[in-house]
């Protein structure tokens, strides 16, 4: 039982580290991006322009935040 719990804990830690790591804003940005893609998929070129822009904004913000924190 203990080893199962330990394995589950390690599994959860792996995914937390993988998804959130030291830049939780990128995880939030990905969720925002997925939501925007689902909401905008009928809007053609608006979506084609807006979706990459969302990624660029979150990446830029995360890079700048990385600089401020360091």
């Amino acid at each position: 039982m203990t080893s199962v719990l330990r394995a589950l804990g390690a599994f959860a830690r792996f995914w937390k580290g993988f998804l959130i790591g030291d830049a939780p804003e990128l995880f939030v940005g990905t969720l925002v991006f997925v939501g925007a893609a689902l909401a905008l998929h009928h809007h053609g070129y608006v979506a084609v322009v807006l979706l990459p822009l969302i990624v660029i904004v979150f990446l830029g913000g995360s890079v700048f935040r990385g600089r401020v924190r360091s």
């Binding site: 830049a23 990905t30 991006f33 997925v34 979506a47 979706l51 660029i56 990446l59 890079v63 990385g66």
Partner: protein, 277 residues
């Protein structure tokens, strides 16, 4: 061969090569300090476990999960991973984060292992020192087995390989090219092993940050493309749009690197980074 196939092969090859360099540093350190037999056996065991994971996870995912749902979930995973790699690569390229120094990692691992420390990669101390007088380098066939060398090599190869497995499974499963993605990863590992053997310990000469930046651009592009496709968006030009996205994010990364360089490096970036990733 379509544009997306080419980008898949390049992305998997690049990501696998970067992770293989990091794993090779740890395995080489374990081999030199604790004996090659255990280090190679630990590495082989990790590779086998990772291969089983690819088959056990990748094949069922590709066959059972509806393709649109698969693309949204996998695209999101690729986006998280790609953006994280891009962020680190931009910060390192602009001097705001210390470069990943394989020589420093190698020296530290050898020093720790020679002193009997097993915490280099978070390895459990169980079995540490079970075999004394580890085999000297080169005697990999007849040398005694060393639990510490095996554990450190296994964990080094396994932890670095997990990211490769995720990339192979996500890119391969969602495009229906799992075998091609796995072959590309295997080729990258083979190339790095041969190159590592030829250049001995000069792994620091591998342009790791540039490779990480390029792979980050490709993973991000695939993530954006597949989440859009899975959500029902019809990208203009279909697969060719991936190349456009690669161009857009490459320019973005270059602009961000230049802009961050102008801001100036922080004081702490002078310290050499020797941790994971």
């Amino acid at each position: 061969m379509t544009a997306s196939t080419v980008v898949i092969v390049l992305a998997v090859f690049g990501a696998s090569a970067v992770e293989a360099v990091e794993a090779l540093t740890i395995v080489t350190a374990a081999g030199v300090s604790r004996g090659w037999r255990s280090a190679l056996e630990g590495t082989l065991a990790a590779v086998l476990v990772l291969a089983v994971l690819v088959l056990a996870i990748g094949v069922p995912i590709a066959r059972l999960v509806p393709i649109d749902l698969l693309r949204v979930v996998i695209g999101a995973l690729l986006l998280v991973l790609g953006l994280d790699w891009l962020r680190k690569a931009v910060l390192r390229a602009s001097g705001h984060k210390a470069l990943h120094d394989e020589d420093a990692i190698y020296e530290k691992t050898v020093a720790d292992l020679s002193a009997g420390v097993t915490a280099v990669t978070g390895a459990a101390p169980a079995g540490a020192g079970a075999v004394t007088g580890a085999a000297p380098a080169g005697s990999w066939r007849r040398g005694p087995r060393d639990a510490t060398g095996f554990t450190v090599a296994f964990k080094g190869a396994f932890l670095e390989g997990m990211e490769v497995v995720l990339i192979v499974v996500t890119l391969g499963a969602s495009s229906g090219r799992l075998a091609l993605a796995a072959a590309s990863a295997a080729a990258a590992v083979a190339v790095v092993c041969v190159a590592g053997y030829l250049v001995a310990r000069r792994l620091s000469e591998v342009p790791e940050n540039a490779m990480k930046l390029a792979v980050g651009v490709m993973l991000t592009s695939f993530g954006v493309f597949w989440v859009g496709e899975g959500a029902g968006l019809h990208w203009p030009g279909s697969d060719l749009m991936i190349l456009v996205l690669v161009g857009v994010f490459a320019v973005t990364a270059a602009v961000l690197s230049l802009a961050m360089r102008r801001i100036g490096p922080s004081r702490q970036a002078v310290a050499v980074h020797t941790g994971h990733s």
